[in-house]
C-alpha cells in the first residue's frame, strides 16, 4: 500500500506540473461545455424521436400513424403493446411518447357517426420540454385532420420527468468524454514513454509491483476526474442553469469508466513504439468513439448502422449511464451500464496487464 501511495503522489505531482495534462483534464472540458452549451441551448430543429405504442392496431390508428409519419416531424419507433410504456419512457429517457389506447378504432367510428365524443390519443412525457410542446402541436393537428369532423384529440400525460435541456444531455456526456480522453490518451503515451526512457526497467528494479503501479494510475485519474466533475458541475449550473445532480451512481460510473479507459490506454501503449505513435493511435480510436457514442448529439439521430456501432463502444454506456443517473434520476439504466462497463474494464485490464512487461527481451 505504501508503495502505491508513493507512486500515486509522485505521479500526481508530475502530472499537475505538466500544463498540458492539467489543461486537458480540467480546463478543456469546461471550454467545450461553454462553447457547445452556448451554441445548442437555443436550437431544436432536428426530427423528434417518438416512440409509439398502438394498443388498438385498427384501421384508424394505422391511418393516424401514417399521417403523423408523413409530416416528417418525427422519427417513429413502434413499441410492442406488451411493454410497460411508462416504464419504457423513463428507462429510455424519452421526453415524449405517444400511446393509442385500445378501442380507438371503435371510438373514432362512433365519433364519425356522431354517437360519441372524439377518441383519445395520449401524448406522454415531460410537458415542460420544448420537444414535447412541438410534438403535441403536430400530433394534435394530425388528429384533427383524420376526418372532416373532430373524431380524435390528443391528451397529454405528465410523467413527471424533470426538465431535460441540451446542457443536461451534454454535461454528463462531457464527463464521459473526459473520463475517456484523460486516462486513455495519457496512459497510452505514458506506457510508451516509460518503456522508451527506461522508466519501466527502473521501476522493475524496485519492490513496486506492476499491479500496484497500475492501481496508483487508476487512483490518480479517478481523483482527477472527480475534480473535473466538480468543476463541470459548477460551470453547468452557473452558466446554463442545468438540472443534473452528482449521484453516488455517477461517481461509481466515473470510477469504473476511468478504470476501463486507463486499462485501454495501457493496452494501446503496450503495442506502440513511441509516445507520438501512441498519441496518434489513441486519437484515431478516441475521436471517432467520441462522435459515435452520442457525446455531442443523440444516438437516435444517427443512421441505424451507426447506432449498431455505437452499441459496441464502451463510451456509449458511460455517457448513457451518466445521463440516466445525473439528469433523469434513472439508476436502473445506469446500473445496467455500470455492469457492462465493469465487465469490459476487467477484460481490458487483464489483457493489458498481461501484455505489459517491465522486463527487457
Amino acid at each position: 500500500m505504501s508503495r502505491m501511495i508513493a507512486d500515486f503522489k509522485a505521479f500526481g505531482l508530475a502530472y499537475l506540473r505538466s500544463r498540458t495534462g492539467f489543461f486537458f483534464a480540467l480546463i478543456f472540458p469546461v471550454i467545450l461545455i461553454l462553447v457547445f452549451g452556448a451554441i445548442f441551448s437555443q436550437t431544436g430543429t432536428q426530427k423528434i424521436d417518438l416512440p409509439v405504442q398502438d394498443l388498438d392496431n385498427g384501421t384508424w390508428s394505422q391511418t393516424y400513424l401514417a399521417k403523423l409519419n408523413a409530416t416528417g416531424a418525427f422519427t417513429i419507433d413502434m413499441i410492442s403493446p406488451d411493454v410497460d410504456f411508462n416504464r419504457y419512457i423513463k428507462d429510455e429517457l424519452k421526453v415524449l411518447a405517444l400511446q393509442i389506447p385500445s378501442g380507438f378504432n371503435e371510438s373514432v367510428n362512433n365519433a364519425t357517426r356522431g354517437h360519441g365524443p372524439p377518441a383519445t390519443i395520449i401524448l406522454k412525457g415531460d410537458p415542460t420540454n420544448t420537444y414535447f410542446t412541438v410534438g403535441m402541436g403536430v400530433a394534435n393537428a394530425v388528429a384533427l385532420q383524420l376526418n372532416s369532423t373532430v373524431v380524435a384529440m390528443v391528451q397529454t400525460e405528465n410523467l413527471g420527468s424533470p426538465q431535460y435541456t441540451f446542457i443536461d444531455f451534454f454535461v454528463p456526456g462531457m464527463i464521459a468524454f473526459t473520463a475517456l480522453t484523460t486516462p486513455m490518451f495519457s496512459m497510452s503515451s505514458i506506457c510508451s514513454e516509460y518503456r522508451n526512457r527506461g522508466f519501466f526497467k527502473l521501476l522493475g528494479s524496485t519492490p513496486l509491483k506492476k499491479s500496484e503501479w497500475l492501481t496508483a494510475k487508476i487512483l490518480w485519474y479517478t481523483v482527477l476526474m472527480l475534480a473535473s466533475i466538480a468543476i463541470m458541475y459548477v460551470v453547468g449550473i452557473a452558466a446554463f442553469s442545468a438540472h443534473f445532480t452528482i449521484t453516488p451512481m455517477a461517481i461509481l460510473l466515473v470510477i469504473v469508466g476511468v478504470f476501463l479507459f486507463t486499462s485501454f490506454g495501457m493496452f494501446l501503449g503496450v503495442f506502440v513504439s513511441n509516445p507520438e505513435s501512441a498519441s496518434a493511435l489513441a486519437n484515431a480510436i478516441g475521436f471517432p468513439m467520441m462522435f459515435l457514442s452520442g457525446i455531442f448529439f443523440q444516438l437516435e439521430s444517427m443512421p441505424a448502422y451507426l447506432q449498431y456501432i455505437a452499441k459496441a463502444l464502451p463510451l456509449t454506456y458511460l455517457a448513457e449511464g451518466l445521463r440516466a443517473t445525473m439528469s433523469l434520476g434513472n439508476d436502473v439504466v445506469a446500473a445496467t451500464d455500470l455492469v457492462i462497463l465493469l465487465i469490459s474494464g476487467l477484460i481490458l485490464f487483464m489483457i493489458a496487464a498481461r501484455a505489459m512487461s517491465w522486463k527487457g527481451k
Binding site: 505504501s2 507512486d7 508530475a14 526512457r197 526497467k201 527487457g360
Partner: protein
C-alpha cells in the same frame, strides 16, 4: 571465506544467431567492488540486466543472495539498488521528491534530514529545487545513485555510471563509488573506462563478445597479463634505437626518445644494467608500469576509445 552475493553459472543470452552473453561464469563476494570491463556491445548491460532480474537468460543460472533471479527475485529486490545505464530522472520531479518517491517504493519512510544527507553525499543539495529535466548529465547520474542507495541496499549495480560525463563529473562519481566500497557495500560496476576499473575495483573481469576474457584483481591482471614494464630512454636517439633492436628489445622511437618494452619476467634493474653495459647513451630514463590498458590490449588485441574497440 567471504559470502557469495552474486553467483552466475553458464549464463547465456542469445538473440537469433548471436550470443550476447556466452556461457558466462562469475562470482561476486560481499563487500567488494567488482567491475565488468569491456567495449560497447561486449554484453555487459545484458549481463547486468539478467543479474538485476530485468531480463531472462536463454540458459544458465544466476543467483543473488542465493535466490534465483528468474524465480525468486521479489525476495531480494529490496536489498538491491540499481543505476541503469540509461538512467533518467522524471522530468518534473525535484531531487528531494525523487528520493522520497524511491524511499516509498522500498517501503521506507525517510526524513527530510536523511534526504538532505543523501543529496549532500552526491553533491546535489544545492539543486534541491530544480526539476529532473533541468539537471546536467552528471547531476542526473548522481541523483540516480542517491535513488539507488535510498533503500539501503547491500548490493548496488552501477551500469556505466560515468559514460558521457566530463572528467570532473567522472571524478566526482568515483569518489562516491569509493565511499560505497569503504562503507562495505557490494558494488557491481560495468564500465568501458580502463582507468575507472583500475581505480575503483577490487576485482575486474574483462569481457568481449559475450565472454569473460580474463578476471582477477587489477594487480594480478597487470602482473600476469600486462606484458612487463616500459622504459623510456630520454634522448637516446636513433643510434640508441638501433642498438636496442640489435639487443633484441622491441622499441619505439619518438622525439629522440626510445621506449623499450621490458619483458614481464625480466627485472627493470637487470635491464638497465645491460643497457649501461652495452654503451647506449641517454640523458635520463623513466619507467612506466603496465596498466589495465596493456592487459586489455594484450588479451583482447585492441584498444578502447570511448567504449569502441579499435583493433
Amino acid at each position: 571465506m567471504a559470502e557469495v552475493v552474486l553467483d552466475a553459472k553458464g549464463l547465456t543470452k542469445t538473440y537469433g544467431d548471436m550470443n550476447a552473453v556466452d556461457n558466462l561464469d562469475l562470482q561476486v563476494f560481499k563487500g567488494e567492488v567488482y567491475s565488468m570491463l569491456g567495449p560497447n556491445g561486449a554484453g555487459k548491460t545484458t549481463t547486468v540486466e539478467i543479474l538485476e532480474g530485468l531480463r531472462n537468460p536463454t540458459s544458465g543460472t544466476a543467483k543473488v543472495f542465493g535466490f534465483d533471479v528468474q524465480k525468486d527475485y521479489d525476495k531480494v529486490r529490496s536489498r538491491v539498488g540499481v543505476l541503469p545505464q540509461t538512467f533518467e530522472p522524471w522530468d518534473r520531479i525535484r531531487p528531494p521528491e525523487a528520493i522520497e518517491y524511491w524511499a516509498g517504493l522500498f517501503g521506507r519512510k525517510i526524513s527530510k534530514k536523511e534526504i538532505r544527507g543523501l543529496l549532500e553525499m552526491v553533491d546535489l543539495a544545492h539543486k534541491d529545487n530544480v526539476w529532473g529535466e533541468r539537471l546536467s548529465g552528471g547531476e542526473k547520474r548522481r541523483l540516480g545513485i542517491a535513488m539507488a542507495l535510498v533503500g539501503e541496499p547491500e548490493l548496488i549495480f552501477l551500469d556505466e555510471p560515468t559514460t558521457g560525463l566530463d572528467p570532473q563529473a567522472r571524478r566526482g562519481l568515483w569518489e562516491i563509488i569509493h565511499a560505497l566500497g569503504d562503507a562495505g557495500k557490494t558494488v557491481f560496476l560495468t564500465t568501458h573506462y580502463l582507468e575507472e576499473a583500475e581505480n575503483l575495483a577490487d576485482r575486474v573481469s574483462i569481457m568481449n563478445k559475450g565472454k569473460t576474457v580474463v578476471s582477477g584483481s587489477p594487480e594480478e591482471l597487470v602482473n600476469l597479463y600486462g606484458g612487463g614494464t616500459h622504459v623510456v630512454l630520454k634522448s637516446a636517439g636513433e643510434e640508441g634505437f638501433v642498438a636496442l633492436e640489435k639487443l633484441g628489445y622491441k622499441s619505439t622511437f619518438h622525439n629522440r626518445d626510445v621506449t623499450v618494452h621490458v619483458p614481464a619476467l625480466m627485472r627493470t634493474k637487470d635491464f638497465m644494467a645491460q643497457i649501461n653495459q652495452s654503451g647506449v647513451a641517454y640523458k635520463d630514463f623513466e619507467t612506466r608500469r603496465p596498466s589495465l590498458e596493456d592487459v586489455f590490449f594484450n588479451m583482447v588485441g585492441g584498444r578502447m576509445e570511448e567504449g569502441v574497440l579499435k583493433q
